[in-house]
Amino acid sequence: MNWFDSWALSLATFIPIVGMAVVLAIPRAREELIKQVTLVATALTLAVGVVILFRFDYDNVDKLQFSVNKSWIDVISSRYHMGLDGISLPLVILTMGITLLCVVYSWDHFPEPHNPKAFLALLLVLETGMIGTFLAEDLILFFIFFELVLLPMYFMIGVWGGPNREYASIKFFLFTLFGSALMLLSFLALFFKSDPHTFDIVALSQQHGAGLTHGTQLLIFGGLFLGFAIKVPMFPFHTWLPDAHTEAPTVGSVILAAVLLKLGTYGFIRVALPVLPEAARSWAPWIGLLAVIGIIYGALGCLAQRDMKRLIAFSSVAHMGFVMLGISTLTSFGINAAIFGMVAHGLITGMLFFIAGSVQERFGTRELKRLGGLLLQAPKMGWILGFCCMASLGLPGLAGFWGEFPAVLSSYQPAVGLNVALFRAFMVTAAIGTVLAAGYLLWMLQRVAMGKIPVEWEDAHIHDVHVPEWIAWTPLLILILGLGVFPSTIFHVTDGAVQVVSGHFVRG
């Protein structure tokens, strides 16, 4: 199996692109074949992921495993360097799983204007970009994968989205591109300030900003911050998110929530913190501040929504606030919580968007005012929605709890050199945020699932959960419960690798 170890990451990244090429070669009319090819490609990718899970060395999670390091653009000394450690592993597997489930979910109901060929081709490109970002260990390579997701998502929202799709898609594109343009400038600055000049993330992390004045570090970190914070998105750069989520087709929303937002937080953990620890320490209070503003703002935003999907979108802003709060403490406790929060949010919010999509499909609306009584008309779906709301508000025993609670707790004792009083204030504010979260989620549950069936739908025939929906949802539901009961499955994988990152901040 030695060949596998050196090819695993390339296979995981590029099988979807090969699948896309095959899909493009198939005539548009042969829809069944197109769907089957896509299913095989995403299943193969996940299979590679499963083998990786088995062959991963869990005693050395802090080491890059399955590394490939080949020459790529030697003129600018950028290399094809990929690697997998405990931080990337859960996110990569999450991406592979979610993409496969999305293919299954959309099997029989592609959004208008249909065209499965283009839809699935874009989905496969998206998968390559997402997996590649989590695996890249070279800044230029990272940048390419980070940007690769933009085009497919732009088209996915713009072609298959809701009524306001053109505005939402271009807004998404422009916001992210603006951030990444400045991020690229920062990458180049890191390159020229490093000695010897390198784009290698591992090498840069070992130099951790040596030889840079504090001012330069702050500036470069600022560029990285903008690039990643827009992607997360953090308050006040979040305004693209509700539009994009609301207009995107169901699968687009799921991917956006489950994986794309994580590219930003992952960038903080993988690039920004280890490469420029000194600047990270100076920026941390500001990141923490924006994170708690995001938590409160997102929650209040939720309470003001009339559209189910928009509500879930704003709840994403709040949840990613918890993740960023965990990161901003610069402690291993907080960063572990953040990674758990990323996975949990991916599963739970992904699930909520699936349900919102199914509700929209059945009722033709997502307006909370017009919905109601889902438990009576489609009891299974109603219960699933209830389960996910509970998970999302952080009920102990479900996955959401382990992302939120430790993140809040970690800000009780931030890393050395950070203002303890300030972070404790953040902690209290974030705790209030969890109460608000319970408020808006229960309110949504009440509006959608409980009460009497509105007059409008009394005679409507509403299908309960379909077979493809069951197939797509069951794994997510099991994971939400499983990770809630056994959180150590993730913490065990991430902790060693997180120690390396937080190790930069142990001393003052």
């Binding site: 003129v75 940007e147 732009y154 422009l174 591109l177 343009a181 690229l184």
Partner: protein
């Protein structure tokens, strides 16, 4: 005085092109009217034939110099000549059906096209003020005529006249600047001028000379504020000619600028660098902002190419900043940008011609729903537009990257400011490129979509740049190498 030394091997590309011009001219006399389309085949063969000795010279690897250093065939010259000839070949492919079906004079068209190409290949080797000027006129005069080739259309006449007047004016300004340079330095060869520059003599008069010379070329590369002719000329000219103007002719101007600035005037950064800084920032910003408002795709691409030209000027503006280590990187950045820009802009125009065969229009609105009735053209057009916007994994990202790299390498405040201007502009540019893509993909098709077919020549002219955009996007090392090779002689 001994007879000057001729290295005929080094001159072979130019000799072959000249031969092709003569052959096309004679063939045009001999062919029957319905056979005249064959002149395009001959012209295409001429372009490809001229590439053969270039491959030999590149393999041979020696720098060859003639006429006391006034005419040099080095890696840089060879890379640029290859770009010109390939761009010329693609222009011939674009023109074949357009010119044949449009009831134009065919033989003369290709003669003029080849003559312009000849001027460009000479320009790539010119290291002397007089040679540069002669090359510039050789490449300009035929394009004045080509721009007016649609004789019965008033806009084409206007295009030709405007382009001609502006061209002549800029030549005059430039020539005036050159004459002062010659008067002060006592030599027209760039190497000798560089020696004079190093003595630090000349004072303000030399500043003025540099200013006039650069302004002349700013007209040629349509940098803001000397860009007014470009959109009208682009819109009025036959579309294949527009493609040729926006790629080959522009590159010709840049090649001359590269030689002048990096070889001749480099020591006087204080004189040329502020000018180029302003030209770069203004071209990017103004070009992009006006492009946002366009309703015709040709005009939009015209303004977009003004903005792209601004990006190419950025490395000039930072080349001699910092500790001087940025110079080779800046030089190769512009070359790599030119190579990638050539592919993506030619591709965009090729698809534009293809779509116009279906819709009979270049209005941006006529692109609505293209994805529904011509998905391949829509995908390819999106490919080229997003490449122009610099979105990975399409080749344009690497062009943008090398520009930013040059800026950060220089590292001074002025350089970084220009870098931020460029970064913001690349976001603005996305807006109008994405708008066209959005129309093609997000809107529904018109009731009666056009049906024109894509002839094989045009198909090849689309496929070739598309392959470049994809391959270089994923593996930019190929072009990066060329850029590095070209920089060696610096």
């Amino acid at each position: 005085m001994p007879a000057p030394y001729f290295d005929y091997t080094a001159l072979l590309p130019e000799i072959i092109l000249t031969g092709a011009i003569v052959v096309v001219l004679i063939a045009d006399l001999l062919f029957e009217e319905r056979e005249k389309y064959r002149t395009s085949t001959l012209a295409g063969l001429g372009c490809l034939g001229a590439l053969v000795p270039i491959l030999y010279l590149a393999g041979n690897g020696n720098d060859r110099s003639m006429f006391g250093g006034a005419y040099v065939v080095d890696n840089y010259a060879l890379v640029m000549k290859t770009l010109f000839l390939v761009a010329g070949y693609i222009t011939v492919l674009l023109s074949a059906n357009y010119i044949e079906e449009g009831d134009y004079y065919q033989g003369e068209y290709y003669v003029l096209l080849l003559t312009a190409l000849l001027g460009m290949t000479v320009m790539a080797s010119a290291r002397d003020l007089v040679t540069i000027f002669v090359a510039l006129e050789t490449l300009s005069i035929p394009t004045y005529l080509l721009a007016g080739w649609r004789k019965h259309d008033a806009r084409s006449n206007e295009a030709s006249l405007k382009y001609y007047l502006m061209g002549v004016l800029s030549s005059a300004v430039m020539l005036y600047g050159m004459s002062i340079v010659y008067g002060l330095a006592g030599d027209t060869r760039l190497v000798e001028i560089a020696k004079y520059v190093r003595t630090g003599a000349g004072g303000h008069l030399f500043d003025v000379a540099i200013f006039f010379t650069l302004v002349g070329f700013a007209f040629k590369v349509s940098a803001v504020p000397f860009h007014f002719w470009a959109p009208d000329a682009y819109e009025g000219a036959p579309t294949p000619v527009t493609a040729f103007l926006s790629v080959a002719s522009k590159t010709g101007g840049f090649v001359a600028l590269l030689s002048l600035v990096y070889v001749g005037f480099f020591g006087r950064g204080d004189a040329w660098q502020p000018i180029l800084w302003v030209l770069a920032a203004a071209s990017m910003t103004v070009g992009n902002l006006i492009a946002l408002r366009q309703t015709n795709l040709v005009r939009m691409l015209a303004y977009s190419s003004i903005a792209q030209g601004g990006f190419m000027l950025v490395p000039f503006a930072v080349a001699n900043q910092g500790d001087g280590s940025a110079r080779p990187g800046a030089f190769s950045a512009t070359i790599v940008y030119l190579l990638i820009y050539g592919a993506m802009n030619l591709g965009a125009f090729a698809v534009l011609i293809g779509v116009a065969r279906k819709t009979r229009s270049a209005d941006i609105d006529s692109y609505a729903g293209l994805f529904e009735y011509a998905p391949a053209l829509a995908v390819l057009m999106s490919l080229f537009l997003f490449s122009l916007a610099g979105i990975p994994p399409l080749a344009g990202w690497y062009a943008k990257l090398v520009i930013f790299k040059a800026v950060i390498d220089a590292g001074t405040a002025q350089a970084v400011t220009l870098g931020v201007v460029a970064a913001v502009n690349s976001v603005v540019a996305l807006f109008y490129y994405a708008r066209v893509a959005g129309l093609m993909w997000f809107r529904s098709a018109p009731a009666e979509p056009g049906t024109g077919r894509i002839p094989p020549a045009l198909g090849a002219a689309i496929a070739l740049p598309a392959a470049v955009v994809l391959v270089i996007g994923v593996y930019p090392n190929l072009f990066a190498r060329l850029g590095e090779l070209a920089t060696r002689g610096l």
